[in-house]
Symmetry: C2
Subunit: 236 residues, 2 copies
């Protein structure tokens, strides 16, 4: 039912099961219904989706390639628990690629794309004002979708996939180290970026993007617990 359910890969029956499981778990992680450190037993996952361990395992394996799940030999799979250093690398990577993506996107953007982005923004703002877990989760997703949509507009499928990974992992990091209740991105900054693109102020848009990413990162408390991480693995 997702808006992104495009007709790109309509073919399904094959491998659809593991694809579905993978996407479901990823969504749960990104929306923070699954906390970092949570164990994802192959049997449990299989039972949950009514498939055998084989497919559950394949899905978990796939998620581990995206960095959302970490599998430890003979121990099982867990929702990834990114270290502060990993978190810094994720944001460094975003600072590195997002300006470039932005430039590419700006070169190809259509009026339709712009209005679509604005639509996304509106939705995001609406969710921001609402209360409740569901709204919060939708807001997280919407705020990530802004960056993802930009990558999509850039027309480079490879960068798009990479950004999907980065955004998903960012969500994990924010869940772990975020301080402010404003869970995700500064909403207004997205708007400013769009405006800058509209006005063909490319350099300014890139500056804003960099500032935006840094702004998210500075809201994190990365210096803290190194030894406490252990304890938190218990909480579910």
């Amino acid at each position: 039912m997702k808006s992104a359910a495009k007709a790109m890969q309509a073919e399904d029956s094959a491998e659809t099961s593991v694809q579905l499981i993978r996407d479901s778990i990823r969504e749960a992680i990104v929306e923070r219904r699954l906390s970092p450190g949570t164990k994802l037993s192959e049997k449990d996952v299989g039972n949950l989706f009514s498939v055998s361990r084989t497919l559950a395992r394949a899905a978990l394996q796939a998620l581990s390639y995206e960095g959302l799940v970490s599998v430890e030999k003979n121990r099982g799979a867990f929702v990834a628990y990114p270290s502060p250093d990993e978190a810094r690398q994720i944001f460094a990577a975003r600072r590195l690629v997002e300006p470039g993506i932005l430039r590419e996107a700006a070169a190809r953007i259509t009026p339709g794309d712009i209005s679509q982005l604005k639509q996304l923004l509106l939705e995001e703002g609406r969710l921001m004002s609402e209360r409740g877990q569901t709204a919060r989760r939708a807001e997280i997703k919407a705020s990530g979708d802004f960056h993802l949509r930009l990558a999509e507009i850039s027309g480079n499928a490879i960068m798009q996939r990479f950004m999907e990974e980065l955004v998903a992992r960012s969500s994990l990091v924010i869940a772990l180290y975020g301080q402010s209740t404003a869970s995700s991105c500064g909403h207004s900054e997205h708007g400013e970026i769009i405006t800058a693109i509209e006005n063909n102020e490319l350099d300014r848009a890139c500056q804003l993007m960099l500032h935006h990413i840094t702004h998210i990162e500075t809201d994190l408390d990365l210096r803290e617990r190194k030894s406490l991480g252990l304890k938190e693995a218990f909480e579910l």
Copy 2:
């Protein structure tokens, strides 16, 4: 702790089987011992490495995540056959990220790193003068290693992994569409980049890198077969 990062995961025997298979096949693809379009049957792969289909399948799956192998439902796995458009996206991605990686690397580079890079260059040059398949393959690898090493120096494991994917896929593209016998990169350009880094001419180094990547891409013949691509998927 940083140097321990590799030893941490590289070790042990768990999952080593599929890891080993994956790496072996990847190396074979990158060194062009396996041509694009070659079928990789699960059974054959399993027999080749003396494991069951389960592990062979896992390895092929992993390679498909990296874009080196394409799996078609109920058909099997094949060495990827990147389309011209895909090839362009790969190089666009490299142009997008490599300057950034270069800047990061330059900021952290040590004299030891530089001499190591030069060593790599020497090796590359030596292989270039030699003849024979083996030397050619080693040259391909060495030329890719230059870019990879830069990513490693940058200290960002995420970008490093991404670059590994891009370099590997580039090798596939060059195998498919490369024209000049000089299979990989212009060797001298690597040297110029190092020199620029040494002299702290960062902007110039980035320019050289961009030029270098573009240079590789212009050596390709991407315009050709658009409708023929279909047919070629059949072959073999």
